[in-house]
């Protein structure tokens, strides 16, 4: 189950803006989806390892060799806003 407060909190984490209508709708939809997902609780998985890495490869490395760089114009070509070779964003307040 998921309540309205949790939906709003998750939306903040996901950087999504939800108006009243969307909050109500998503709370309902996610509740019904999670009710189905709760079926997983039927299984005892205590001693089952998680399948975290696809088809079992390991130890894949890249040799430490510097490769080509993108031309700066190409790097910035898709930028919504830029100035003097830099990406430009509304002022950052505070820190991460």
């Amino acid at each position: 189950m998921i309540d309205r407060r949790t939906v709003e909190q998750i939306a903040r984490l996901a950087r999504l803006e939800l108006d009243e209508e969307r909050v109500v709708k998503l709370t309902d939809e996610l509740s019904r989806i999670l009710a189905h997902i709760d079926k997983l609780e039927e299984l005892d998985v205590t001693d089952v390892p998680p399948l975290t890495h696809g088809t079992g490869g390991a130890d894949v490395y890249r040799a430490d060799v510097a490769g080509p760089v993108l031309d700066r114009d190409d790097a910035l070509r898709n930028a919504p806003d830029q100035a003097d070779g830099l990406f430009r964003v509304p002022r950052v307040i505070g820190d991460a």
Binding site: V60, Y61, R62, R72, F87, V89
Partner: protein, 475 residues
Amino acid sequence: MTTSDWELVIGIEVHVQLRTESKMFSPAPNAFGGEPNTRTDPYTLGLPGTLPVANRAAFGLAIRVGLAIDAELARYTTFDRKNYFYPDLPKGYQISQLDHPVVEHGKLPLASGKIIRINRAHLEEDAGKAMHEGGPHSVIDLNRAGIPLLEIVSEPDMRSSAEAVEYLTRLKLLLRYLEVSDCDMEKGSLRCDVNVSIRRSRTEPLGTRCEVKNLNSFKAVEKAIEFEFQRHQRCHAAGEPIVQATLLWDDDKEETRLMRTKEESADYRYFPDPDLPPHHVTETWIDDVRKTMPELPWMREARLAELPGITAYDAGVLIQDRSIADFFEAASVVAGDPKAVANWITGELFGLLREHGDDVRESGITVDGFGRLVALVKDGTVGAAGGKKVLAAMYGRPDADPRALIDELGLGQISDEGALREIVQRALDSNPKTVEDLKAGKKKAAGALVGWVMKETRGSANPGLVNKLIGELTR
């Protein structure tokens, strides 16, 4: 520092940029500075569809650190995604290591012998740089994004700001010795955050801690710790609770200010990165790295202090830079006098290096040339002043021969006693009044006579010998 009933407890997180050719997960070059956004590739920009592939050399450097701090090296290590939004983080997540770091449970000894335990050291990628230059905008340079970082997390084992600074100083020295990082705080290749808490006695559990970020120098670390120590005590005295929080150090105002409290703390939603299969650090790999390990700085310090004439202080200075210590040891063999070599390094050579802004390896001064010059000074072939001129002339000229330079520059010293005795006699003959003064006990008069001889010989007379002869001939 104020004495206090409270015990100060400090833990430190250090981020060092690793010295590799390319970035942690993509081939874009790893280098400082450069025109903004000129060291990117599709991965660095976080473009859709790009994938990370781990840089093997970064692991090698992490293993080096692990061996140097006598840590456990993970046989199985994995990467996780740390999710948060910030304009300098193009993917919206940083690849880091949460559950299976590459290095765990190390130790770093302080000079007193006290051990600072290191909880873990893990690999991750650096973020880009967001710059705020006033006005309504911030700007982003992604050159730094993706540079490999090793985050070294200590246990809360330090009990004073001095210990914290010593830990950092020694850790930095070690990392530079290992050639893992250049550890330049001004360039941001070494950054640290400190966790501070206080408690009544060492039997009490740790108090609520605050993390201080934005510490740009060891001086700032020291001041920030002291500031927090006082603030925590004031809170206790006033009966106010200490709120677990992340603080920023303001270097101008010399105070911390609140960034966020634990309640507002980010939920990073860590999970194993599905793009990166696990890594195994094998015995063979560890052995290969072990073979390339240099002598640790504190071992070397102890060994150098045993050399004839070398004080503990000299040894401490000489080991600060691995290339200097190497230079010192090799030149001592050539000159046959470690103390004289040490004096010439810490005096003249350091001066020249400072002036030129060079590393000794780039100075063009060879171990052999330097060692021979020190020997030539010692045997009186050239005076100290002349030696300095010769050394300056050797700068940037790896093929320069100090003996030839002495002649070329006319700096050869007259150490021939017979020849000098004759010149000194002339000095006495030409300056009867001064000789009288000298005989009357005016010590300064000897200086005037030496000056006369130096003038006559264009400064090439061995001053020790001149003094001795003046003494003999006026007796």
